[in-house]
């Protein structure tokens, strides 16, 4: 009986902590529906008097937000899937294949994320111009697939390093080749980790700012985060519109996360396979 009572404080503490994490979001939401005059008069932390959506509608028209959303979904979605596939292939070789010089191979892949993005700007601009991919979404997809799969390779190969060998040996004895082992055994069992990768890659790519700013010039190709930059003028900024646009921009990433949350909990536990 006492143990049951003791559980509730833990739940309450965690709920309070979760509320604290979400608080800034509420500030964004509150400011998204404020008119600029209200914001200037009462400050950013006051509650809005009404439900002001004209600013949002204006912004939507102004930057053709639906096109930006589409671009972001396209780029983030492709990157998420492609980077996950690339990570799976790399991690398979490193984690299960145990190829020689694992540390160095891993370091090679991790380099993609260690390199500061500013250093990549000029070389990528130059290279993409050479192959005629400057100002295309494909160039951004390729670049981020590589950059994100660094983390995917690292995480997945570490997890696969603990993969029970017996199952693989058994499958090999049954005559499966490496390719089949990968897709029929390793991937299904690693679904939670791969789910994590998909979610992370989508959200990280969604919020990327610098490289899309540099590589996507035509307004038709730009992403949500670049469009948000339009609101930051040289000397003035539009605070309420920034919050409104950010809220809109966050929704797809949020939806993606909530949908994929379920894969994070489903998946074949190793014990069940045994």
């Amino acid at each position: 009986m006492t143990t049951a009572l003791r559980r509730y404080p833990v739940l309450v503490a965690l709920c309070l902590a979760a509320l604290f994490m979400v608080l800034p979001f509420l500030v964004v939401a509150v400011n998204a529906f404020k008119s600029p005059a209200e914001y200037s008069q009462h400050g950013p932390l006051s509650l809005p008097g009404g439900f002001y959506v004209e600013g949002l509608e204006d912004f939507w028209q102004r930057v053709d937000y639906s096109q930006k959303l589409l671009n972001s979904v396209l780029i983030s979605g492709c990157v998420a899937v492609l980077a996950a596939v690339l990570s799976i292939l790399n991690a398979y070789a490193i984690g299960i294949g145990r190829i020689r010089g694992r540390t160095w191979v891993l370091a090679f892949f991790v380099l993609a994320n260690v390199l500061p993005q500013e250093a990549l700007v000029y070389p990528l601009y130059y290279l993409s111009k050479q192959v005629g991919l400057y100002d295309t979404r494909l160039s951004v997809i390729i670049v981020f697939t590589v950059i994100q799969s660094a983390f995917g390779t690292y995480l997945l190969s570490s997890v696969l390093g603990q993969f029970p060998r017996e199952i693989i040996e058994a499958a090999r004895i049954d005559g499966a080749n490496r390719w089949q082992v990968l897709w029929r055994i390793v991937v299904p069992v690693s679904r939670p980790t791969i789910g994590v990768l998909l979610v992370f890659f989508f959200i990280w790519t969604w919020n990327e700012f610098l490289l899309p700013l540099v590589m996507l010039i035509s307004n038709d190709n730009q992403t949500v985060s670049v469009a948000l930059g339009v609101l930051q003028g040289q000397r003035l900024m539009d605070a309420t519109m920034t919050n409104a646009a950010a809220l809109l921009g966050v929704l797809p990433a949020l939806v993606f996360f909530l949908v994929f949350q379920r894969t994070l909990t489903r998946g074949i536990a190793v014990g069940a396979v045994k």
Binding site: L11, P24, Y92, A93, A171, G175, A176, N207
Partner: protein, 320 residues
């Protein structure tokens, strides 16, 4: 207990091997797409960047060769080394604290809440903790600067309301505490990342291990320490290493919250490099800064990776 493998419509080409282990060379084929793409997208630009670091260039026109001048200047640049010291603080805020807190939270949500209150609540709480990661750092920075504003910010207002008025500070404008305020914001941003990774990792742990331990009378903490932690060791080391790399490279939050100020108190190497590249348009010097930064971080990650693979090999040896 064998695992049956469904054979495709086509016959499996190779003969079943029951002899000695096949050589590992053909695993390397799986690395081919990764290696090729990385070469083009990462290695070549890195080499180009290193090349530029030996020149003087403003981003337009042709670079002018200057040899090691940029590096010599960098060694003497006190601003750069100060920014490095600050990034060590960031490592604490972005790697150490989130990993530790994330571990405890993950175990609490997964084990405790999940079991006693249902997985739905655990999932909702996890989503709440992860939310800061979804918000673009630019917007998060704006919101936090409102919360931490000295005159009307929410934090100071709250402190005043609960009677702790003397604790009010100029959180982002006081050079002595600005760094700690930025660290606080970074903890808020980062906690979701280890949490999600660890909770996914906890899926892998065999529940029978826990049941056996509970039967033996082990309490929650002992189960956490002796079963949970060792089982998700790969996730822990990945998260620690990755967050450390991210901390050494942190840029967005500093850019939005304090722009490296006040008076350089929160300057970090990435921000220093960014302003050199784009505001001072000293691309050659900026390239030198990023090369040095990359090399340092790479060396640190190599150390981490080496320790990790050594531990993995030892474990495999023990298992075999």
């Amino acid at each position: 207990m064998t695992v049956t493998v469904e054979r495709g419509a086509r016959a499996v080409g190779k003969q079943p091997h029951t002899g000695p282990r096949r050589p590992r060379t053909s695993y390397a084929l799986f690395l081919l797409p990764g290696v090729l793409t990385f070469l083009v997208v990462v290695v070549v630009p890195f080499l180009m960047n290193t090349g530029v670091s030996f020149t003087e260039w403003s981003g337009v026109g042709s670079p002018k060769w200057s040899g090691l001048a940029n590096y010599r200047e960098l060694m003497d640049d006190s601003e750069f080394w100060a920014s490095f010291r600050h990034s060590l603080f960031m490592v604490v805020a972005m790697a150490v604290v989130p990993t530790v807190v994330g571990l405890v939270l993950a175990a609490a949500l997964f084990d405790y809440i999940g079991k006693h209150f249902g997985t739905k609540i655990a999932a909702v709480l996890r989503a709440c903790f992860y939310l800061p990661q979804v918000l673009p750092i630019a917007v998060a920075g704006i919101v936090w600067s409102w919360i931490l504003a000295p005159d009307n910010g929410a934090l100071n207002a709250l402190l005043k309301a609960i009677g702790l008025g003397s604790w009010q500070q100029d959180w982002l404008g006081d050079p002595d505490i600005a760094l700690y305020s930025v660290m606080g914001v970074m903890v808020w941003v980062q906690i979701g990342f280890p949490l999600v990774v660890f909770m996914a990792g906890l899926q892998r742990v065999d529940p029978q291990l826990y049941e056996a331990a509970e039967l033996d009378g082990a309490g929650w903490w002992r189960r956490f320490w002796h079963i949970t932690l060792p089982q998700i060791r790969p996730e822990i080391s990945v998260v620690l290493t990755w967050c450390t790399i991210a901390a050494l490279k942190v840029f967005g939050a500093v850019y939005v919250l304090t722009k490296g100020g006040p008076g350089g108190a929160t300057d970090v190497p990435s921000y220093f490099s960014f302003t050199t590249f784009f505001e001072k348009t000293q691309v050659g010097y900026g390239a030198a800064i990023s090369t040095v930064l990359t090399v340092i971080i790479l060396l640190l990650s190599l150390v981490g990776l080496r320790l990790q693979t050594r531990a993995e090999d030892a474990e495999e040896g023990a298992r075999a």
